[in-house]
């Protein structure tokens, strides 16, 4: 079933394919984000939020990527454990810092949006709280990676942590939502998004996704080259 996938799990084939794709992906990223920003800036001010509605176009995609990247990380970890493939190890490892940055971006832009809208930088609302917890999951994952010297072992062990985290994220989200509704009967942003705002929002979401894929490929390629250089150096030292 995954035969076609594993054909590209060979690092040499992967380098060939990703190297050919990368310029196109980078161009598509820049183009999509440029269109998204243009649409965003040309959208009329919201009747309640004024110009601050623009923050939505950088905030919501970051927040959705925060979860999306963890999903990619978990899938790569699963392949790393089941198929023990080096490409999956590298893919999982390199996804984590990207996910952490998207999560941090979501938290920071959310905070900047919250100040003019709710009058506070931080609100213990369910979604914000679970995003914060997710940020710590990313940090713990990366810290564990950096602490284990043997790379193959680090990959397997961190894969377990990633999967444990993946099982836990829905539970954490549920518990935090439960907690937030218990503490405050407040709901935010229930309502429809007008098409003038929806178009730039969806474009920006696509742009963020392309940005993630591009950066992910760059990081995977860098790490593969790095590993190759290291093993060449070790071979040189041994000879």
């Amino acid at each position: 079933m995954f035969d076609w996938l594993f054909r590209y799990a060979n690092p040499a084939r992967f380098m060939g394919l990703s190297g050919a794709l990368l310029p196109w992906l980078a161009a598509a990223t820049i183009l999509t984000i440029a269109i998204g920003l243009y649409l965003g800036f040309s959208a009329p001010p919201d009747y309640q939020q004024g110009r601050t509605v623009l923050i939505m176009f950088v905030h919501v995609p970051a927040a959705s990527m925060a979860t999306m990247v963890y999903f990619c990380l978990a899938v790569a970890s699963l392949f790393s454990l089941v198929n023990r493939h080096i490409l999956a190890d590298v893919a999982a490892r390199t996804a984590a810092p990207l996910g952490a940055v998207f999560t941090l971006l979501a938290l920071a832009t959310g905070s900047l949006w919250g100040k003019p809208m709710w009058g506070t930088w931080w609100e213990w609302d369910g979604r914000m709280t679970s995003t914060l917890v997710q940020f710590f999951l990313y940090l713990g994952y990366s810290a564990l990676w950096n602490a284990i010297e043997d790379e193959t072992k680090a990959a397997r062990i961190c894969a377990i942590l990633a999967l444990v985290g993946a099982v836990n994220i829905p539970i954490i989200k549920f518990s935090v939502d439960w907690w937030a509704t218990l503490h405050q009967g407040e709901s935010i942003m229930s309502g429809q998004v007008a098409p003038v705002f929806l178009a730039p929002l969806l474009t920006m979401m696509g742009g963020y996704f392309l940005l993630f894929v591009t950066l992910w490929l760059v990081r995977i390629r860098t790490m593969i080259v790095e590993r190759r250089a290291r093993s060449l150096m070790q071979a040189g030292a041994a000879a």
Binding site: V133, Q134, F136, L137, L139, G140, Y141, A143, L144, A147, I148, D150, T152, K153, R156, I157, I160, L161, V164, G165, N168, I171, I172, F174, S175, V176, W178, W179, L182
Partner: protein, 221 residues
């Protein structure tokens, strides 16, 4: 069952003898409970409101203290290899170790919590509920902690990373544990007891398998 009980008794003996840390956890818990009011202020009304949360977090942190020794000490002196070779499957060994950790930290912490709740002037109705929530929740702390301990067992500074990876996993336990006390104080029933029980049972049932898997990886590497 005999190898299970042997390992359990061994781990319990190790935890109460010198350097075991069972008593340290209790001291840490008592100190957190003492320092909190010094930071928050002595207003009894405020303390009664935050008391359950402070005690829950204090107990969870105290239980984490001795976790880095759960597998690491046995890994370093080689006894983990012998445990892995014993007729007891590694899953059973992990379960025995989790049970021993809970008996030497979670249970004593639970028993100490009603005493410490005096410092926070918790209403008398809330005290048994707090103890019950800790009794139900601390096994999950030991179990989730065992996952973290098994992942970090080969690290020299594993004790520093352990809280970073275990504490996010414990969010539901803290929320539902303090939620139970809050429900008792306010009379609003939100289902905290059921959720805490579900979380605890699921964590306790799954963690020996995850921990054994991680231990095998570490021993093979």
């Amino acid at each position: 069952m005999t190898p299970f009980l042997t390992l359990l008794a061994r781990d319990l003996r190790l935890s109460v003898r010198e350097g075991g840390g069972a008593a340290l956890a209790l001291g840490f818990f008592a100190l957190v409970a003492t320092l909190m009011p010094l930071g928050i202020g002595s207003d009894m009304a405020v303390l009664a409101r935050v008391g359950a949360g402070v005690l829950w977090i204090g107990a969870a942190l105290a239980a984490l203290l001795s976790l880095d020794r759960l597998f690491q000490a046995d890994y370093e002196d080689g006894s983990l290899d012998l445990i892995a070779l014993s007729p007891l499957p590694l899953e059973g060994a992990a379960a025995a170790k989790i049970l021993a950790h809970w008996l030497s930290t979670g249970l004593p912490l639970t028993l100490l919590s009603p005493v410490l709740s005096v410092l926070f002037d918790l209403p008398s109705g809330a005290v048994p509920v707090l103890a019950a929530s800790l009794l139900l929740g601390t096994p999950a702390v030991s179990a989730a902690g065992a996952i973290g301990a098994s992942l970090t067992l080969s690290l020299r500074r594993g004790g520093l990373i352990l809280p970073l990876i275990v504490l996010p996993l414990l969010t539901p336990a803290v929320i539902f544990g303090t939620g139970m006390v809050e429900a008792a104080q306010t009379g609003l029933e939100g289902g905290a007891f059921g959720f805490l029980a579900a979380f605890s049972i699921a964590t306790v049932l799954l963690s020996p398998f995850v921990a054994a898997f991680a231990v095998r990886l570490n021993l093979a590497g």
